[in-house]
Symmetry: C2
Subunit: 339 residues, 2 copies
Amino acid sequence: MLLARKIAYWLLWPLLAIVLAPVSLAAEDPLPSWRDGPGKAAIVEFVARVTRQDSAGYVEPHERIATFDNDGTLWSEQPLYFQAYYALDRIRDMAADHPEWKEREPYRSALAGDVKGLAAQGKGPVVEMLVAAHANVTTEAFTRSVAHWLATARHPRTGRLFTEMVYQPMLELLEYLRANDFKVFIVSGGGIDFIRVFSHERYGVPPEQVVGTTGGARFELRDGIPVVVKTGDISLIDDKAGKPVGIWRHIGRRPIFAAGNSDGDLQMLQYTTVARNEDDTTPRLGLIVHHTDGEREFEYDRESAVGRLDRALDMAPEQGWLVVDMKRDWRRVFPVAGS
Amino acid sequence: MLLARKIAYWLLWPLLAIVLAPVSLAAEDPLPSWRDGPGKAAIVEFVARVTRQDSAGYVEPHERIATFDNDGTLWSEQPLYFQAYYALDRIRDMAADHPEWKEREPYRSALAGDVKGLAAQGKGPVVEMLVAAHANVTTEAFTRSVAHWLATARHPRTGRLFTEMVYQPMLELLEYLRANDFKVFIVSGGGIDFIRVFSHERYGVPPEQVVGTTGGARFELRDGIPVVVKTGDISLIDDKAGKPVGIWRHIGRRPIFAAGNSDGDLQMLQYTTVARNEDDTTPRLGLIVHHTDGEREFEYDRESAVGRLDRALDMAPEQGWLVVDMKRDWRRVFPVAGS
């Protein structure tokens, strides 16, 4: 009887192993939304090189700095940067007190709801409009205002909350890097105070690891309560050549990994990946999200007013930057079901 | 025989416990350089309140933000801010190319080695001189220059390396807070790029957790190598009302603990400890290091040109800020033996 049990056990065990194997393998894949291919392989190989103690490319955990652009890299940016929709709503609220706005761009396009006209202004003026629209607002009031908007406003095409339009494969990449002791930062042309409102909950990135376009601020006592008040000036436009400056200001060292999707990320990719000299043999990876999927998301690159990807796309091969083809490389785009 | 062993064991055990107890207790003191007293007790009680799950004042680990001033709080600042000695050495190196400096303060005092004259200029002009003296220097070259200076320059009175003049009790406090899942930041009126060179090795604070007076910077390709170059302008003077602005810019939320030693930390202490409203019941602690020990360090407060402590000292009782008396509360001041 006992022997019979033993035999049954030893017969059953291999069958169990076979049955369970696929499950456990699937559970081990840190990037399930990434299709197997050169892109996914390059990411996994890079992480293995910098984390394996016996690897020539081993990097100490505290030097494993990774920077991610936000608009078009972690969430969508079409037909207009999401923060611009927030600005439009605020500008409309405030227009009554500012008749001069009817004549001035980008306010005129904003009030007319002319998205194309706004997009044509570029990111700088739109962000400046946003910053100006919030002069004399305390940081607490601004945070409350953005949180309320994110909880209620909907994307004009998908009807989804904007925070539902983050990219599932990139959420997995953020988590995969953190699981390998990377410290992950957002380095965005968008407003630093805007992104901080949702970065921790949505991306697992705490406010102190968000770098972005930064408005001026001043300290005040209001009725004896110490507050920081946003002023109308701009301290840093964290886009293009401003990104390495923002990285230096906030992080104080070069990343070894950077991800972007537009020419606005070109200098960040250069700063992260170009070797200083022959002794600089640290493994470095630059990643570009290429918006090739018009069905599941949006299809655009060289001609787009928002998130134009032109020079960086040309330079990618010689620079060894990994170009991720959203249509080919991603099993799914958004976290919501059926996307 | 077996019984005899058992009896011996049960007799021996309590004796062992008694013998070992004092050792284990001593090993448990996280602040051995702090004398037992109300100051040490207040710190330990605050940490217990915010970390005990069952405490009404429990604070989630990611909200446990602590900010420390540097000059006079983590290391000495007399007879002149240590960074000013670095500036003096650089200014002397560069004076030959700048005849106009002989007529202009603070350069004139700097070249004359007139420490009193320099101190009279205040921190702002001295830092501005330092920033100007490094226009067009890459961040890499600046870091190398500071590292070399810190490894060789000596304090005019003690003859020690400047990094040997950090305060042992504060090193223990930094470690104690980190061991209780606090995220520790430096928020200093000194130069952010200067402090970052030694903050990780000396304080265990990585560069991305250093906030300080910040010069402008620009991105460049030099012979095809991407570099960040320090410019002559100033982006933030992280002193007095500038400290809450720097905290917001870099951290994006209010600390629950702040430590300083001068009126330059007054607004940081207010921003950290003053409750917003009746619902704001989070435990908060403000700490002021009072320089009362002329024998082991330096004795100064209301009349000092460097690190003046006047208004904040008057406000401490009503604000509930903990004033640490270096002479009374610290068993030792410096890590080096016999200090």
